[in-house]
């Protein structure tokens, strides 16, 4: 998948071209930069957040400590239990990013596998897998997530299981169709005529081409997963208190909407910017890799 | 004898990321009522763009008619305002395109699409236009025209669709019918039928035809005059008989040699023209054909040959056309150079 580019010559490989195009997409770069920033901030949180702003879990029952509006000490204010909102937002990034990446990884694992089998072997396997996907598609997303959580029990771990399970049909479909279109190409026949085994064909010839839409779709899915986690936590079916999840913070903020608007604004804004970054990156990747996906 | 259409020094350029494409470069010709002009050349030679320029259908802002006059019955189309041009389109000058499947709107019934220009230009009502459309379908030889008019394009076969397109173009009884490669997308057997139909329609309505094609066989049967284009320029222009039997330009020789002809008794050699059609952004210097011309000399690279009248209305753009002895007869694959 990596091609040797002679020093100084303009890279003409698929990936080289793509990277060049991506670099020029300002919005995608902004998105990437923001993600990197957030990751760094939250990964290093222990080092600087508690000392400057306060422990996200530290409840302060001193009178006047709760529901402070934003100030120098507490840039995002404090919540009902006196906790510093800024530090909770920073720590909350961990939850969202972790869920996003893990859930999408689960979906990718299942989806790519099933999509590959379905696309490559066709026939009954294909029908079986695609019909199952249809069943999943018949469910509105949020409802299915709620139902799954209802059965599994609300918890942090179950959130990424649920989101992961919900994601496989779309990925399988996308992967399957790119496999199908690549399969048609003659060079697969040529490889087979030369005696290559099924597996080898799949890996060396089909996969690299089919991978591009997956990369795009996966990136955008992370954004979707983050929103879903926030929604589930908002409904009380996701992360449980006192863990700082952005969605959970919004849920707490609901009854205090008018008294303490800062409780609503900042966690939501965090969700918006993070998801937007993934969407912009996904858009940029799609243009760079020149993937034609139906919207 | 008034010319129906006079095109003078028409030039159309396209601005692209890689440079300016001179799709049409200084083209001039004329058309008399009821006559047929064939415009011949390879793809990319500028023949379609010439036709689109006449109707001012060139896609802006990338495409621009940078120079020239298009005199239709004495009035310069290029100087008209948008409304005046729209009046001409479909009414006095009509056009049919290469692929009838994609050129017809899939969500409207055929009868309605045929009637559209009647409603627009002749002020007919929907019903009147529909009835007339049925008559037109009859005229172009489509059976069960009343039922067919209510069908959608995808329910027609390829040949039928092209007939419908012809009916659509002739609806307002135009003075000029421009046909852009009307048979290229059709089966060989259907091609002959469509050409027959066009000849018949021309006799019936008296319309002049501009036939754009890369197929010389088509030209032979139909054309009164022939114009050969290469790299956006005219390289030869004259009466059909002259161009066919006494071609002057080496490119025309190449065309005639590289196509199988059924009207030649001897078994000639099929000689394809070597090389590739030129890029229209980096047109070769001097004579655009010189890189592929077996007779090219230094002057061919240096100077652009002017289109000159070599012999009584037979024009050629080659430095050597006027030289005696620089000719070729049909059966011989190579010419002599003076």
């Amino acid at each position: 998948m990596t091609a040797p580019a002679s020093v100084g010559a303009k890279s003409r490989t698929l990936w080289g071209d793509a990277w060049r195009r991506l670099r020029h997409n300002k919005l995608a770069i902004i998105g990437l930069a923001w993600i990197v920033f957030v990751v760094l901030m939250t990964a290093s949180a222990e080092l600087w957040v508690p000392s400057t702003f306060g422990d996200p879990l530290a409840i302060d029952t001193a009178p006047g400590a709760s529901l402070q509006s934003p100030s120098f000490e507490h840039p995002f204010g404090t919540d009902k239990l006196g906790r510093d909102v800024f530090s909770r937002v920073v720590y909350g990034a961990r939850i969202s990013l972790t869920v996003g990446v893990i859930a999408v990884s689960i979906s990718l694992l299942i989806g790519v596998l099933l999509g590959a089998i379905s696309g490559y072997y066709g026939g009954f396997t294909d029908t079986l897998v695609m019909r199952s996907a249809d069943v999943f598609f018949a469910f509105p997303y949020i409802l299915f997530a709620i139902a799954l959580i209802a059965v599994l029990g609300p918890s942090y771990r179950n959130v990424f299981i649920a989101i992961g399970i919900l994601g496989w049909p779309s990925i399988a479909r996308v992967f399957r169709s790119s496999i199908l279109s690549v399969k048609e190409n003659e060079y697969v026949d040529a490889a087979r005529a030369m005696g290559a085994s099924d597996l080898r064909i799949m890996f060396r010839h089909i996969m690299p081409n089919a991978v591009a839409p997956i990369i795009v779709y996966g990136t955008m899915s992370i954004g979707g997963a983050i929103i879903t986690e926030a929604a589930l936590s908002f409904l009380g079916m996701g992360v449980q208190p006192p863990t700082p999840s952005w969605g959970l913070m919004l849920s707490d903020a609901k009854s205090l909407m008018f008294r303490a608007p800062w409780l609503t604004i900042w966690p939501g804004f965090a969700i918006l910017t993070t998801v937007l970054s993934f969407v912009l990156m996904g858009d940029g990747l799609r243009d760079a890799l020149d993937v034609k996906m139906k919207d | 004898m008034s010319e129906l259409l006079e095109v003078k020094n028409l030039s159309t350029h396209f601005t692209t990321r890689d440079g300016i494409v001179k799709a049409v470069d200084d083209v001039s010709f004329s058309l008399e009522p009821g006559k047929t002009l064939a415009v011949v050349g390879e793809s990319g030679s500028g023949k379609s763009v010439t036709a689109l320029s006449i109707m001012r259908l060139v896609a802006e802002p990338a495409g621009r008619i940078v120079n020239g006059q298009v005199l239709f019955k004495g009035d310069d189309v290029l100087k008209m305002n948008e409304a005046q041009v729209r009046e001409l389109r479909g009414d006095r000058i009509a056009m049919i395109f290469q692929d009838p499947m994609t050129s017809l709107n899939p969500v409207f019934r055929v009868g309605r699409q045929i009637g559209e220009s009647l409603i627009l230009h002749k002020g007919m009502t929907r019903k009147e236009a529909f009835e007339r459309a049925i008559e037109l379908l009859d005229m172009v030889g489509i059976p069960h025209s009343r039922e067919r008019a209510k069908d959608y394009p995808h329910q027609f076969s390829g040949g039928m669709r092209q007939r419908a397109m012809i009916a659509m173009a002739l609806a307002c009884d135009p003075d000029i019918l421009i046909a852009d490669e009307p048979t290229t997308a059709l089966d060989v057997t259907i091609q002959a039928q469509i050409l027959e139909l066009m000849i018949e329609m021309q006799e019936r309505t008296g319309a002049a035809i501009i036939m754009i094609t890369h197929d010389l066989g088509v030209v032979a049967d139909m054309a009164d005059d022939v114009m050969v284009m290469y790299a956006g320029r005219q390289v030869e222009y004259g009466r059909s008989d002259d161009v066919f039997h006494r071609p002057l330009h080496p490119y025309a020789w190449g065309l005639l040699d590289s196509l199988p002809r059924h009207d030649v008794d001897e078994k000639g050699v099929l000689v394809p023209i070597t090389g590739q059609p030129p890029s229209l952004i980096n047109v070769p210097s001097g004579c655009a054909f010189h890189p592929r011309c077996p007779y090219a000399r230094e002057v061919c690279r240096a100077d652009v040959p002017a289109l000159t009248d070599i012999m009584d209305g037979h024009l050629s753009a080659c430095h050597f056309s006027a030289d005696s002895g620089f000719h070729r007869s049909v059966a011989r694959p190579a010419g002599e150079v003076a």
Binding site: A150, A231 | L88, E116, M168
Partner: protein, 325 residues
Amino acid sequence: MLKYVFRRVLQMVPVFFGVTLLLFVLRAPGILPGDPVRMITGERAISDALREQIVKKHALDKPLHTQYAIYVSNLLRGDLGESYQRNRPVLDIFAEKFPNTLRLALAAILIEIIIGVSAGIISAVRQYSFSDVFVTLSTSILVSVPVFWLGMLLQILFGIKLKEWTGGAIFLPISQMSSAQFPDWVHIILPAITLASVSTAYVARIMRSQMLEAMGQDYIRTAMAKGLTRNAVTFRHALKNALIPVVTFVGIDFGVMMSGAILTETVFSWPGVGREIFLAVGQRDWPVVMGGVIIIVLLVMIINLLVDLSYAWLDPRIRYGGGAE
């Protein structure tokens, strides 16, 4: 066309069984961790006698396929079980709240169509202009916004801030379904906008790309060659082609809205099906939760089927299938 209808309905059958099977699996004993009795009664402690009763009544001791059969037949008869916490049949609870959700969804669809379609057309016709860039960018943003957060922001903005800034002159009431000062329909504005927001962005996007695609087709050139004005070509020839997939999307979106309403209704305390499910989750009243899920899922399936059929009807290539002679 009739053949197509028949085929599509037939296709729905296995999906129906798949869906019910999946839902059944979720609550059935022994397949997933969890106590099936809990799924029926909720989180309260219950006596052994009651437990026995429930097991018998819901046939929990019978083999799985029998249970599934009972489940499906109940479903088809409209029996979704009972809420033990409220002592009411699940179906009744939802039947009450359903009209509210329907109203909200319809209002949202209306907004979605009007704004989405116009924005899409405008940005396609004036490609690369400010409006085009604006639409493209704002759709990306709207897609990333958590709908429930948007609802809260709108409430803060219109409910309180606007009131503050204009000294009480202008504001939109929130939460309550009716109030003396304002006509009924005013209350639906904010929730409808919230619910419609993401979908409007999608509609605009799809409309735009469909219009661009349509306008690049050959038949547009033909129409121009006939002497039609630019407007006639755009709005008569291109639009009709572009609209078909958009109509399909809106139709399907209706189903999405019915389910997405759960978040919006919660935020605005709008007494609909979605909020009911949310409250039930809070109370761990599982029969209500699952019942609500099933209702919406089946509703969405039916709507999708209708949308598919309408698409077939709208596109003459499918409606009058069959090629040429």
